[in-house]
């Protein structure tokens, strides 16, 4: 049996505009999404903001009712058998909220252990173990309000593991963490995977998905646009090379000119204070560099390299192809 089964899942949000004459507007957040996740699999769900990742996770964690379609966790329907689902899942939504800041870390865990029906004798042993696991053993007596963002995230992990759930939903769990904290967090995820937990991870960090996930689904505009192993997704961009160009003060019209070049398959920009890193996907490889430099004429240009595509490049291509279509 698969741990998670999703079939033709759809979720529509209604919003209203206007005060006197109210007009309803429908937004389709998730549209005909189907996939399954095997027991013990670490499955990534990637997509740009507003693509439908969190909505999908919230439907799977019983917090939202699907407009259409079905989803089951270990065979239990998320709508009809929500109580059974809730016994078997744990979830983390990225960010600092969701904890009681006026209580200590230990009291937060005691509280949630009781809510999850963990026997007090078991929780007495489990809470120190989990605090040790997430590196908060010496800070458990302090009020959560005084914790750093990373500490709160780690406390969320401990909270999620209190009832030893079989299936975990981690929605952008490393968002806002410093690099060291994020690396420690990834190790925690790997440890959980080694305990045969089924994990659904959403993230914006491609290297994170590449390093952790067994399979990845890319979602855009509510649709699954690709579902494959990280290697399989990368191979979709194998026909391309990536020209990386460092620029200083890149104007918007130059960017548009670059996008319009016939050999540019996809283009993304990373901003670093006063400099930008252009990543141009092209099948021409190094031969494209003179034309790119010509398009950037008059602009201060730094490092230029041509490299093999990464998972991020494959992701950018999938998302941009989806946007174009």
């Amino acid at each position: 049996m698969n741990a998670i089964e999703i079939s033709h899942l759809r979720r529509v949000f209604k919003s209203y505009i206007g005060v006197i004459k109210r007009t309803a507007r429908e937004v389709v957040a998730v549209n005909d999404v189907s996939f399954s996740i095997e027991d013990g699999e670490l499955f990534g769900l990637l997509g740009p903001n507003g693509a439908g990742k969190t909505t999908t996770v919230k439907m799977l964690t019983t917090l939202l009712i699907p407009t259409a379609g079905t989803a089951t966790i270990r065979g239990f329907d998320v709508v009809k058998r929500a109580e059974e689902v809730r016994k078997r899942i744990g979830f983390i939504f990225g960010g600092e909220r969701g904890l009681y800041w006026r209580l200590s870390g230990i009291d937060n865990l005691r509280y949630f252990a009781s809510l999850y029906g963990v026997d007090p004798d078991v929780s007495k042993k489990r809470i120190p173990f989990l605090l040790e696991l997430v590196g908060l053993r010496d800070r458990g007596d302090e009020k959560v309000g005084g914790y750093s963002r990373g500490m709160k995230q780690r406390l969320h992990v401990a909270r999620t593991l209190l009832h030893d759930p079989e299936v975990l939903f981690l929605d952008e769990p490393t968002i806002g963490l410093d690099p060291v904290g994020a690396r420690e967090f990834r190790q925690v995820i790997l440890d959980l995977q080694s305990q045969k937990k089924t994990i659904l991870l959403t993230t914006h960090y491609m290297f994170e998905a590449d390093a952790l996930c067994d399979r990845i689904a890319v979602i855009n505009h509510g649709h699954i646009v690709a579902l494959d192993t990280p290697g399989g997704l990368k191979s979709r961009a194998q026909d391309l090379n990536v020209v990386e160009v460092e620029t200083f003060g890149l104007p918007a019209n130059t960017l548009n000119n670059l996008r319009a070049l016939p050999f540019v398959d996809a283009l993304s920009v990373e901003e670093y204070e006063q400099r930008q890193m252009l990543m141009i996907q092209t099948s021409r490889g190094a031969e494209a560099v003179p034309d790119v430099m010509a398009a950037l004429e008059g602009l201060k240009v730094g490092r230029v390299i041509v490299r093999e595509p990464t998972l991020e490049d494959a992701y950018v291509r999938l998302v941009e192809d989806g946007d174009k279509s």
Binding site: I89, Y100, R102, S114, L115, Y116
Partner: protein
Amino acid sequence: MNFRVLIKYWRTILVVAEMTIRQQLMDGFVIFTILFQPIIIALLGLWMLKGKGADAALFVVVGSGLTGLWSSLLFISGNSINVERWVGTLESLVAIPTPFEVVVFGKNLANVIQSLLSMLLGYLVAVLFFGYSLNIQQPLLFVASIFLTIIGFISFGLVIAPVFVMNPGVQAWQNGLEFPVYVLCGFMFPIALLPGWTTPVSYLLPPYWAAVALHGTSTGGASLNQTLFAWGMILFFSLVDIFVGGRLFKLMLYKARADATLGME
């Protein structure tokens, strides 16, 4: 929700109550509502009835405690679900195996118990500042009335909280509901002083029967039959509230999951 659920989750209810009290004792609004406001009311009442005797003072002490209970129910229990939403913990409380109304029951228990402090403080004010020697006339019946009052207020809170969540328009009347209930339920003076047409309204308010039981047993002004009838009404309203509250919670949670209003985005 039914009594089997309450028995099954009694340990969870106590932990929820403990954690709620720990958090609220650091909340200025809660401290004002359950401690300072009732003390101010007790001081004013005792001052106005100075020289009227110990019975009048006892009426004021019990009445000021009831004002603390009602304000706590109205503002703290009434807002308990919305507060969880504002601080981002509501989703964590809904997606758990424990029924959500059990959590709210535990929170209401904490609110009612800590509100009883206001009655104790009113007593201390009467004894220490006004020199009264106050004796509860029917102590056993009074203790039983306190116990039933706790159940009655917790149960009423199970109706108020989901109503406020589902109807923000009703919540806007929260402030306006505080003082009329003080008056209509006879917290500070008997409802016999009010026009006759208000009496049926008083009878429909569960806190009125708690006031009848507590005032009657503390001052000895009620017969056993009157006290038993008041208890019966408290229990009747509690059962109705628990039944209605259970359905309201189901409706509220379904609506929140359908309309995506559990979290604050």
